[in-house]
Symmetry: C2
Subunit: 331 residues, 2 copies
Amino acid sequence: MSKKYQVVGIGNSIVDVLSHVEDAFLVENGIEKGIMTLIDRERATEIYAKTGPSLEISGGSAANTIAGLAQMGIKTAYVGKVKDDQLGAIFAHDMRAQGADFDTPLALPSHKAETGRCMVMVSPDGERSMNTYLGVSEFLTPEDIDETVMADAEWIYLEGYRFDGPESHAAFAKAIAACRGAGGKVALTLSDPFCVERHRDAFREMIDNHVDLLFCNEHELRAMYQDEDLSVALRLAADEVDTVACTVGANGAYIWRDGKEVHAPADPVHLVDATGAGDLFASGFFFGELNGYDTLTTGRMGCVAAGEIISHIGARPEADLKTLFAKHDLM
Amino acid sequence: MSKKYQVVGIGNSIVDVLSHVEDAFLVENGIEKGIMTLIDRERATEIYAKTGPSLEISGGSAANTIAGLAQMGIKTAYVGKVKDDQLGAIFAHDMRAQGADFDTPLALPSHKAETGRCMVMVSPDGERSMNTYLGVSEFLTPEDIDETVMADAEWIYLEGYRFDGPESHAAFAKAIAACRGAGGKVALTLSDPFCVERHRDAFREMIDNHVDLLFCNEHELRAMYQDEDLSVALRLAADEVDTVACTVGANGAYIWRDGKEVHAPADPVHLVDATGAGDLFASGFFFGELNGYDTLTTGRMGCVAAGEIISHIGARPEADLKTLFAKHDLM
């Protein structure tokens, strides 16, 4: 193909504020372990004041996926809202420094909200609990969607978290129409089981009508189809989309395609920080998909990229992912 | 003693922006390896645009030392200027979250400068090259020095980098007078050989008249006394102050006290990022000093704390330092 972009991601633009906490801290402060909870500015200030010394790394789910793809030389762009403030400058720098185009108009300094941030609290077992203040990220509108960019994308990659916010659905609709109208394909990630609960109908409509590739984990897929039996939920999803890639933690991933299920196993990894596991699985999977690898290899690339990200703090890759694929005899 | 604080640090308040670079990048961009260079806002913007994806961690030399001390339960306060902006909030949070008091008045949003930051570029060999935009940190004035805090300190710890800036010397003079007037002691760190070149006379005056404990490394001490022979420079310093603690990289440190030299060896460490080695040496050394350990043990505590900080990215401790001292049979 001769399109300018292989993958264009649309998501919440977030700077992660990472700290280590004991599980008792989560209980005392009413923070649900292992999931993403939306919080307002006041709650963010309250929680931040109670957490220990932190470090800041650019995050955001689709942004992490795009950063991983850009690191591997995939032609990418990212669409998401930051403000013209210090955290916004950090987010924009890190995206462009990784090689992705990022030209979404900035929210002005006069905007009452700030650039979004996510307090990522990492437990001793490596599980992360996320409290997100969306900030200006919530206010992406259809005007922020450049149809020429969407038409110039082989794939657009839509972040489930981005269903929150007043004009999100309209922005996605505009992006999908422009992309599909030019022969492009649509990938969606379900993001989080509680996100699925908030937006099940909108997700269902998008999956049934527009999605070619669905990323999810077992918890999200069960929530989506309200069925405790993962194999049932997988088949329901596979009836609607060309490809379902469902991660199952340390067991790797199940991929449904052309009526067949393939299991891609994951190698054992010392879990340091689970943040970004699903995001980087999507990076690895897309890499295999775009380069025509078979389903098992494509799924394994997802697992290897996810394994890299959970072996250290932060959801942006540190090791060279293609080198890791080669080490695992995947390319 | 019944003073409120055991150590009060005064330094430049800096958020570190850490990235990995090849040595060729340093050469191409005229960045001197292994030292700290002051840069203005424009140069900071130019360099930042060229560096890869980064992460942000609170830094600042004296601030790192105070953070290390606070982690070990030492009663500490920190004095340094940040602005009421996002990076300033991060710096203040991390200092207080570690347990140190931090009540320096904020520079107002209308101030033309921002909170200071330091681009820390880490080479493959672990050496770091620092380009610092001091921002509002430069504008600490005597009015920011609370004499009651200085009088309530067993030790004040003065950062050599803080000699840059228009009212720095006056601010230090006020702090020293208040501290010594109440029977407190003064420690100074020379910070950097080029900092020594910029402020040799002021350093010399302070060492001769006020300093009880001098922290330095071999390069700084040679620059200070303009003598290539380290043993000569050490003796010249030892003639002026009660204690000289001079680090010598992988060889540990030499401590001069009561006319005798003690060599404290360092254990081999896999060097990941040299940032903060001297700062955390000072934390460990102060801990031994404040708790009445002998000179060798005190020096070894400095080496162990320095070894912790260079084994990971960033200049704030990750492991529990007292646990490390116990593992090394130092307490």
